[in-house]
Structure formats: structure tokens, C-alpha cells
């Protein structure tokens, strides 16, 4: 039977599902409710000198009937007094001593940092998260991502905190940077116990095309915000992987970004996170999604024979390689299951207009099932990705698996194209119609 308990950099929790710092962790009321429903931990809404927020704070991307596939906010840190938050924190810990309560912090001076760290320790917090990630509102005042983007500043502030911290310290990273491993290494150097990523991505979620102003609209104006929700998961996964693989990081990672179900969580764990945090999905569906998350994770672990979370943290990392180490001899071709095909011909037009002209329509107009032209198919996956029917287009392996040749090996053997008109060009093997053919169809 799967055991979901974790010990994350010394912070114990009944399961790896934590609420990320944000509106769902604004108050002790919400956090108690979440714990009661099964959440394993909560990172308190970032504390500091309380702010004043604007009204009209969120924007979202909807995609063909799906609401909030991407979410954007211009909210700042907590707008509640520190004393109220601390009192509630103490109360939560009284009722849920075994759950992880982590205080997210953002202040400016050394004095403020050291003061607030001690305050939350006294209130019973199990850990501290340093918010160096917020990409709007706070960075203009030299906080949030302004810190996260400067590894040296990040290192300095973290070391102030480490001087007084008696509980584990997590540094939360901003993705608004070209190499995420640089601030991650700085956190490690300063002695942080863990990192968490990603915070939101600086963004404009859209433009009101009649009023000529971006969303969310505050009176007649707007401002850039932070992007999150399901759309950012791939970016977060890649950054988590980069940190997990880096030899100079090697501290626990709490994965954040677009997680809304157990499968998303497992993906983060497989890429090296050992706890995960959720914000947007709870803002969308409420705390109740935890039931599906824990049940799904247990079922996944049981089906793979994993007894503890550690047993599979980072299990996919060895398989994420550099492109030049991939096998160029591996060959797959698309195959259409004629029994399942419904004749939408989306694969035809996708390959015809957007790929390699490797799908033909049937000569018989009444037969709407397209045919793969294997000679031209490069095995790109496009058709199988857009096909609306489950398992209708599959990619079938054609090489026998005996040959292995990578770009690196070919380069070493001087067997790669080097001139503009090189005969070794990969595209030489398939037929490209002449430009004029386009007008004859």
C-alpha cells in the first residue's frame, strides 16, 4: 500500500500536495478547511508589510470551450496585518500539528528579514519560503523577481535569513530569467535547504481590442501581470528538470506551475520535485480536487509497486538527454486505423499544409479515409497529435532497433552536413513538390 508521507528538506507532511502561496492561503480559515479536506501542506500567502490591492486583478485565457487554460494576476502580497496572520498560523498548527505550514515572506531590509523570520518561527511555522519570484508590483520596489533575477542579491538576502532561521528555508525562484539554474545555485551557495519553482511568468494575458487596453482592466488602464495555470506547466517542467539535473544545485525541489491533477503531480515528481504546490487549480475548482489527486497518486504508486514517494522522485531524469545523444536510426511512421477513422481529414490537411505532404486523400471521393505515404513520412507525430479519435493514428516503429547512431557520433565521424548545399541534408530522402504544383491543385 502506497505511503504518501514526505520529508521535504526536514519538513514533514502527510502527502506531497501543498497549497502554493496565493489567494487560497490568505487566511487560517482557508488553510484549516484545506487540511481538513486532505491537503498535506500550505504555503501561507506571502507576508511582509501589508499592501493595498487594486480592484480587477485577474485575467484568463479560454481555449475553445475550456475556461482558464492560462491565468494572469496583478495582485501583490498579503493585504492583511502581520499580527492577524501570525495569530491564525498559531491556531492552524494547534489543530494540525502534522501538516506542513510554511510561511512565505517578502520584505526589504536585513532588519525586516531577520525580524519576520523570527516572528513566523514563534508562530509555529514548519518552514519558510522566500518569495523572490513575484514579477509585478513588488519588483519595482526592489523585491520579488528583482531579487530572483540577480543571483548575487538572492544569495545575500538568503544568507541574512539563514543566520537566524531555525526551520528549513525554501527559496522560490522566478522563471523570468534565461538560465534558471543560476539563481538555484545561488540559493544553494547561501545555504538554503530547498528551492521551489516556478513563480508566475511576466505576461499580458490579452488586449481588449475595442477599448485598446490590456487585461485585467483597472478603470481605463492595465499593467503586466504574472501568468500561471495549465498553460505554463511545460515551462515549469523544463525548469524543474534543469535544476534537478544540475550538479551544483542538488537540494530538494518543490514543483509548481499548472498542476491540477495527480498526473501533473507525478510528472513533476518524476522530473525531480519531491513536493508539489497548487494555486490556480484550487482557485478554479476549490479544495475538493485533492481527493482525485491523492486517490490517483496512490493508484499510480500501487500499480508501479512504489511504496514511498522517494522511490520515484527523479525517475525520468536520466532519460532526458541532449538532442545530440538521441538515436538518429530510430524510425517511426504514421499508421491510420481504418476502422476507427471518422473521415475528418484533419491529418491530411495538417501534413499537407503544415508538415511533409505525406498523407494522400483517397481517389474515390466517397472514401474519406486518407492514406499515409510512408516514403515521405518523417515520423513527426503531428497527425497523431491532432487526430480527434483516441488511438486512431499511431506511430509504428520501422527500424529493427539494432542500429544506434547519434548526431554526436556522426559529428565525430565527420558525417554531418557542413556546407549550405550539402548532399548529407536530412531532407534529401523525401519528395517535395515543386512550388507551381501548389496552384494546380
Amino acid at each position: 500500500m502506497a505511503n504518501l508521507k514526505i520529508n521535504f528538506a526536514g519538513i514533514q507532511a502527510p502527502n506531497p500536495f501543498w497549497l502554493a502561496s496565493g489567494p487560497p492561503t490568505n487566511s487560517g480559515y482557508q488553510i484549516m478547511k484545506a487540511f481538513d479536506q486532505g491537503w498535506g501542506g500550505a504555503v501561507w500567502k506571502t507576508l511582509g508589510v501589508p499592501v493595498v490591492n487594486v480592484s480587477s486583478r485577474y485575467g484568463a485565457i479560454n481555449h475553445r470551450g475550456n475556461r482558464v487554460v492560462g491565468f494572469n494576476n496583478i495582485e501583490l502580497i498579503t493585504d492583511r496585518r502581520l499580527c492577524d496572520n501570525l495569530r491564525e498560523m498559531e491556531e492552524v498548527k494547534k489543530y494540525f500539528p502534522d501538516h506542513a505550514v510554511i510561511a512565505s515572506l517578502m520584505v526589504q531590509t536585513k532588519k525586516e528579514w531577520q525580524q519576520i523570520v523570527q516572528d513566523v518561527q514563534n508562530a509555529g511555522a514548519d518552514g519558510i519560503e522566500l518569495n523572490f519570484g513575484c514579477p509585478h508590483g513588488m519588483c519595482e520596489r526592489g523585491m520579488g523577481s528583482a531579487v530572483g533575477q540577480e543571483p548575487e542579491v538572492l544569495e545575500l538576502i538568503t544568507s541574512w535569513v539563514m543566520e537566524v532561521a531555525k526551520i528549513p528555508v525554501i527559496v522560490k525562484l522566478t522563471p523570468n530569467i534565461s538560465d534558471i539554474t543560476e539563481p538555484a545555485q545561488a540559493a544553494r551557495r547561501a545555504g538554503a535547504n530547498a528551492i521551489s519553482l516556478i513563480n508566475t511568468i511576466q505576461s499580458l494575458v490579452g488586449v481588449d481590442i475595442d477599448k485598446f487596453v490590456t487585461y485585467p482592466i483597472v478603470e481605463n488602464h492595465s499593467s503586466n501581470g504574472g501568468y500561471c495555470g495549465p498553460a505554463v506547466k511545460p515551462i515549469a517542467l523544463n525548469m524543474v528538470k534543469n535544476c534537478a539535473q544540475h550538479p551544483l544545485v542538488q537540494i530538494p525541489i518543490s514543483g509548481i506551475g499548472g498542476i491540477e491533477n495527480w498526473r501533473d503531480a507525478v510528472e513533476f515528481l518524476l522530473l525531480g520535485a519531491s513536493s508539489v504546490q497548487v494555486c490556480t487549480a484550487v482557485m478554479h475548482y476549490g479544495f475538493g480536487i485533492i481527493r482525485d489527486m491523492t486517490a490517483g497518486l496512490e493508484q499510480y504508486m500501487d500499480s508501479h509497486g512504489f511504496e514511498t514517494i522517494d522511490q520515484f522522485v527523479g525517475k525520468a531524469l536520466p532519460n532526458v538527454k541532449h538532442w545530440e545523444d538521441l538515436n538518429l536510426k530510430y524510425s517511426i511512421k504514421a499508421s491510420i486505423n481504418e476502422e476507427k477513422c471518422i473521415g475528418c481529414q484533419l491529418c491530411y490537411i495538417a501534413c499537407e499544409d503544415g508538415a511533409h505532404q505525406a498523407i494522400d486523400l483517397n481517389d474515390d471521393k466517397n472514401n474519406r479515409i486518407p492514406k499515409i505515404n510512408e516514403e515521405n513520412c518523417v515520423g513527426c507525430n503531428l497527425c497523431s497529435l491532432i487526430c480527434p479519435v483516441e488511438d486512431c493514428i499511431t506511430m509504428v516503429r520501422k527500424d529493427d532497433g539494432n542500429e544506434h547512431l547519434t548526431w554526436r557520433q556522426r559529428t565525430e565521424a565527420n558525417d554531418v552536413p557542413t556546407t549550405f548545399d550539402d548532399a548529407l541534408a536530412g531532407g534529401n530522402s523525401h519528395t517535395v513538390p515543386t512550388p507551381l504544383e501548389a496552384l494546380k491543385r
Partner: protein
């Protein structure tokens, strides 16, 4: 007068904007889309659905009207189950087809209510065309001709336009208001004239048109309900289906409907008439058909719709007499069977079913007499006007035709398509 909009709730009501957004989100945007292929007017359905989804509702309306001038009427009355929606690829994986008809209604209703002007009408080109019949075929032809600058006068026997789309189509598919609203929208935009209460009745009338106009389009549809030619047919409670339906639609009476109704026939009109009687509160409604259930011409979903409202089907029984004194008291039937592929009465199997209303839905007659008077127009043996399919031209080059009068009785969408084709045909003929 009775309020039909209350008595007959719409089976395909107007979508609200949430419904339209979510429904349009489902469209796959098929290549060479089967729905478009299945539409007799070839509306670019994936395009207008995508336009709805992407917030260009007026553009969606334009896409529809570009192909089909009666886009709203068709959206409401087309048998979409056997046309566009029947072809939707989703049906092949047991997923509900896109509600194309209702989405089309959503877009065209908006176009009409916001009075979109999608077409530029050029200056008069100096030529004029007479159209006989303001039904779907005639209206569609008129729009096409106005777009090319012709003066168009439509002569209509009745006091309202839209032909059977107004007087015949079941009131739970389209309201009178909706049918009239679209023609009025088109008239305002295209500027054709409709001269009401003017039947082109005889050869003199036709000759006048021939001298005054450069071409004539015949969109006269079909005639009255066919007779069965059995004893007792002349009793007052034995009436034709199209006349009965026109009565309920145009002149709804306060009187309760008959208690027991027998509808004779097995086509869509029979199903409509029976459904309407059941919806009006008749206690028992029987559709009696000479042949077997399988041989009915009615679409399966029309029969289903009738059954749901409480209509009973009886098969292999042929009427031989309407019984009663001055009034209808029942119908005498004889059972039938198939012998060597031929339908035969079973001697001695006669029986009587009681009823107080008989509705004859065994087809409509052709309007042969008017056509027979016009020299050089040929008809087939059943009385359909013969035309060149690609131009709508009859064998008398000055005359064109389309709709029920040509196809023998199909759907509004076919009449619309044929009217447009003839409009293009007339323009080609007159601009040679």
C-alpha cells in the same frame, strides 16, 4: 385568435450565447467537411462555426447568407438529421453531432435582428424579371437577380410570402413571425417587389408578363392535397393535410380539435399533421398507411417525433370509404399485403375505425394547368417541369423554374438552392 407560439413550443429553440460558445467549441474544422458536402446549398459550415466561436457573429451570418438566402428559415426547418448533422463525423464515434441547425439559427437570427447588410445592390442594369410565387424558390431567385442589378417583381397568389415555409411547415419548427421576418429582412436588403393577392391564373396573365419582362421564373410549388377518390370523401370533416395545416397556422381556431383523428398517408406531411393534432389535444390520432412501416417516406425522426406526442401508426391498411351520415363517423379500411412485389387488398378483411376528422396526406397535386398553357415548356409524366439542372432553364428559353414545381416536392433548402441556380442561369442567359 389562438397564440400558436404558445401552443407549439419550438423543438429547436434559439441558442443563448453560452450554448453557442460551448457548442461551437466542439467543431473539429474538418477538411473538405462532410457537413458542407451534405448541404444542398453548400454552406461553409466549419467556417461559420469557427466565426461564432471566435466572436465574429456578423461574419458567421455573412458566410451563411453567401450560400443560402434563406439561411434562417433553413436553420429552423431543414431535416438536418439527414443532411449536415447526419454527415457530422462525430456520429461515427457515437458522439452527438454538432447542432449545426441551431448554430446557424443563432448566427442568422443575429443578422436579421441587427439588420446586417451583407450585399451591395448595383445600379439597375435595365432589365427586369418576373417571378411567379413568393415561396423559398422565388425569394432565393429574386435575391440572386437583385444582386446582379435586375428589377424583380414577384407575383404571389396569397397575401403573405414564404410559400409552404409559412403555410405548411410544422408550427413547432418555425413560427410564422420568424418565417415572415426573414423575407422582410431580405426584401429590405435586396429591394425586390412582391405583388400580393395576384394569382397568375391563365394564358393572358402569362402573356402580359412575357411581353413586359425579359425572363420569367416559375416558383409555383405544388397544388392542393391530392384526392383519394373514395366514397364519402366530400364530407366536411374530411380535409386535405396542407389545407388543414394552413388553417391551423394562419387562422387558428378557438374550437377544440376533433377527439379522434385519422391521418391517411405515410410521408412527412402525414407525420406533421398527426403531430399537430396530438399537440392540439386530440385524444387519439392514428396515422394509417397502405404499405408497411418500412416503406413509409417519412424520415424516421419525424415518425419518432409523432410517436412521442402520442400518435399511433397502423400499417398495411388502405382506406376504401369515409363512413357516416352528413358528418364523418369513421373510415372503412381493407388490409393489404405484398404479393410478388405488388400491393394487394386482402378480400374480406374490411373493418371500420371510428373518428370525427379525416386528414388526407397522400401528396399534393401538380399545378399542371398553368404550365400546360405556356407554349414550349415540357413536363414529365408526373407533371414536374423539366429544366436544365445547371441553369434552371426550361425548354422555353425565356422561362426558368425551380423548387417543388421542378423537384416534385422536396425541402425548403432544395427550393432555395434551385432558386439561386436559376437566378444565376437567368443572368447568364440575359447577359449573353
Amino acid at each position: 385568435m389562438q397564440d400558436n407560439e404558445k401552443r407549439f413550443p419550438q423543438i429547436k429553440p434559439l441558442m443563448n450565447s453560452s450554448e453557442a460558445y460551448y457548442e461551437s467549441s466542439r467543431c473539429l474544422f474538418c477538411y473538405n467537411a462532410p457537413c458542407t458536402i451534405a448541404c444542398p446549398t453548400s454552406i461553409d459550415i466549419p467556417l461559420f462555426i469557427r466565426q461564432i466561436n471566435n466572436g465574429n457573429l456578423t461574419g458567421a451570418g455573412k458566410t451563411i447568407y453567401d450560400s443560402n438566402y434563406l439561411g434562417n428559415t433553413c436553420a429552423k426547418v431543414c431535416p438536418t438529421e439527414v443532411l449536415c448533422e447526419g454527415a457530422c463525423v462525430f456520429t461515427k464515434v457515437n458522439i452527438k453531432a454538432l447542432a449545426i441547425g441551431r448554430l446557424q439559427n443563432f448566427a442568422t437570427n443575429n443578422a436579421i435582428l441587427t439588420k446586417q447588410k451583407y450585399f451591395e445592390i448595383p445600379n439597375p442594369n435595365g432589365k427586369s424579371v418576373a417571378i411567379i410565387g413568393a415561396g423559398p424558390a422565388g425569394i432565393s431567385c429574386a435575391c440572386e437577380l437583385r444582386k446582379a442589378g435586375y428589377q424583380v417583381d414577384i407575383f404571389e397568389a396569397k397575401s403573405n410570402p414564404s410559400g409552404l415555409a409559412l403555410h405548411g411547415v410544422a408550427p413547432y419548427k418555425i413560427t410564422n413571425r420568424e418565417a415572415l421576418m426573414e423575407v422582410e429582412y431580405l426584401r429590405e436588403q435586396f429591394g425586390f417587389n412582391i405583388i400580393y393577392n395576384t394569382r397568375i391564373a391563365n394564358i393572358e396573365d402569362v402573356q402580359k408578363l412575357e411581353t413586359k419582362y425579359d425572363a420569367v421564373f416559375l416558383g409555383i410549388g405544388l397544388g392542393n392535397s391530392a384526392e383519394i377518390k373514395i366514397n364519402g370523401e366530400d364530407k366536411p370533416e374530411c380535409i386535405g393535410a396542407t389545407e388543414f395545416i394552413e388553417q391551423i397556422k394562419m387562422n387558428p381556431s378557438e374550437e377544440p380539435i376533433a377527439r379522434k383523428v385519422i391521418v391517411l398517408g405515410g410521408g412527412n406531411t402525414a407525420m406533421d399533421a398527426a403531430s399537430e393534432c396530438a399537440r392540439l389535444g386530440a385524444e387519439k390520432v392514428i396515422v394509417a398507411y397502405r404499405r408497411s412501416e418500412k416503406e413509409m417516406k417519412a424520415y424516421y425522426f419525424e415518425y419518432d417525433l409523432a410517436k412521442v406526442t402520442g400518435v399511433t401508426g397502423m400499417f398495411n391498411i388502405a382506406p376504401i370509404e369515409i363512413v357516416g351520415g352528413n358528418n364523418v363517423e369513421g373510415v372503412k379500411f381493407i388490409r393489404t399485403e405484398h404479393v410478388d412485389g405488388k400491393l394487394r387488398n386482402i378480400q374480406g378483411s374490411e373493418f371500420v375505425l371510428d373518428c370525427d376528422l379525416v386528414i388526407k396526406a397522400t401528396g399534393q397535386m401538380k399545378q399542371k394547368s398553368l404550365i400546360a398553357n405556356i407554349s414550349g415548356i415540357t413536363m414529365d409524366e408526373t407533371g414536374r417541369i423539366l429544366v436544365n439542372e445547371t441553369s434552371g432553364q426550361t425548354s422555353n428559353p425565356k422561362y426558368f423554374a425551380g423548387g417543388d414545381a421542378v423537384n416534385g416536392g422536396a425541402e425548403v433548402v432544395n427550393a432555395t438552392a434551385e432558386g439561386k441556380i436559376a437566378g444565376i442561369g437567368i443572368h447568364l442567359f440575359l447577359s449573353r
